[in-house]
Symmetry: C2
Subunit: 351 residues, 2 copies
Amino acid sequence: MPARPMTPERVNRRWLFEQRVDGPVGDHNFRWTEADVPSPGEGEMLVRNLWLDIAPTQVLPLLAAPEEGGMTPGSPMPGYAASQVLETRNPRFSRGDVVYAASAWEDYSVIDGTGYWDATKVPAGVSPELAVGTLGITGIVAYFGVTEVARPRPGETFVVSAAAGGVGSVAAQVAKILGLRVIGIAGGKAKCEWLVSEAHLDGAIDHRTEDVAARLDALCPHGIDIYFDNVGGEVLDLALGRLRPNGRVVLCGTTARYRQATPPPGPSNYWQLIMVNGRMEGLLGKDYFDRFPEAMTALKKWLDSGQLRAKEDVVVGLEGAPRALGRLFTGENVGKQLVKIADPSPGLGRS
Amino acid sequence: MPARPMTPERVNRRWLFEQRVDGPVGDHNFRWTEADVPSPGEGEMLVRNLWLDIAPTQVLPLLAAPEEGGMTPGSPMPGYAASQVLETRNPRFSRGDVVYAASAWEDYSVIDGTGYWDATKVPAGVSPELAVGTLGITGIVAYFGVTEVARPRPGETFVVSAAAGGVGSVAAQVAKILGLRVIGIAGGKAKCEWLVSEAHLDGAIDHRTEDVAARLDALCPHGIDIYFDNVGGEVLDLALGRLRPNGRVVLCGTTARYRQATPPPGPSNYWQLIMVNGRMEGLLGKDYFDRFPEAMTALKKWLDSGQLRAKEDVVVGLEGAPRALGRLFTGENVGKQLVKIADPSPGLGRS
């Protein structure tokens, strides 16, 4: 029997997980392979991945050994993506639909629409880029982190770290739209300029060149009502130490502890929570799954009115996916990190 | 002019703060003096202190230098007490009343009824001992820590540290009364026996002789819904690492960091709050001041019905006050630490 001919379009290029993360993240943690395009079984779909959603939490399963719940070397690297349905044996979706779903770092995936979050159809008026960016999990998590976890009151002082990142840039702007005084912490002059001139924050602190403690004292002379934490580490401690009565800390990320086999110490100032009757609460988007449409509607309205600026950082080409993940930890990304693989095919139709 | 004669009854024996705390707490941190009995000014009262309320937080102002907000050496050591009114120029209270008020470590104090909490009159049916113990701030804080901060649901697993202490013993029993599964952590066999046989907890862990992590795994195989923290340190980390989805940590005390000039690291596992959408919240009794009567009514009802056991640890004599404070940090106390100075005088009447 002759080997089945593989046309270039139908080769499935893939990134497999290869080596545990213990330091910088990049190509060396993955293996590039090519494989046949798979076929969907009952209830499944074959999709063409268009845009990959790159998030810091993706590194977590790469840190641990398989016996500790970490990922098994040789597995395809999973991730959320905006993808177009090529073949479907799942009644929820039609051929041509663009879906936002649990997929993988590869050209083609067979998916069943389940995952940490169930797959959703991207409406015709929303670009795949926006669907995995500001209107994706990142934006939704930022929205609920501000509205539901922080529960802000107008006029309060809101500080956010990694403020020019995917979650931070949305959280900062949502807080600003809701009438808070917002200070962003970010690394580098360009990010800080963006925060003030484009995102209209009340102040920005460049943690690379400025003394964060001194700048927090200057910009928040009465302390901090809400700290939206995307980094952990020393900045979390500084914020806790300045928390006002009934202050809240929204824990969204701990990049300071990612990439380390041994977790660093926790925030010594956590006891300030007792002194000010403060609250530190984790933010898990999953708990808001039923309310995703509410967040998307609010964010879309603000995007359309120009009050909210979408900010995406795009690496072009599947080859760049490991590098895109690495950028989240070097602070290179400005805005939500995405990987663009392909445009949707208009010929397939879109229901 | 001859010196005014001092009858033994009217000498005011006092403990003054003398030396900052930086290690074990005891007599060496204070100075014993005798002085004249003061006279009340307008709006003030002269009281005879009967029972001192000894609480771990009293050590906090003794840790810092005066320029950092710490107490000035030579000042009378403040503290809450049940005291009897001898003379009053305050219309809220009558001669003979027993009041629970901000007072000091001395036989006689002039007080104005204000303080961290305003003075309250102890009802005739309540002993001074109970007024500063289970029905005092300690019991009230424990009550609101469970009902308002933890917001428990019946059947949840509740773990409390320093479970045989003042706050812990009440928190553990309130959780048990509300239908939770309660595991107490305490130091020593006698305390653990009390927790199980008298306070009717579902299990006890002796942190002096047992492996707390292994025992938590055995007694809480499905994890911890609520951890009521009175100690901080390693136990807080162990509990955070076992927190279940939507778990809560009530931060009530951090004895692990008291007595140390340099705060120890915070809980490394705090990031578990993100993983489980958990919440860690400080408990400050002050915020519930308006609702103190509600807590007292509930606690009194449970005491009267026998569901709640009051547990006090009494040092007799004003001389023992520094030692009583020190006992909180060596773990010697079983139940709420008090100092008994005197009985109320029936001859004064009690309105």
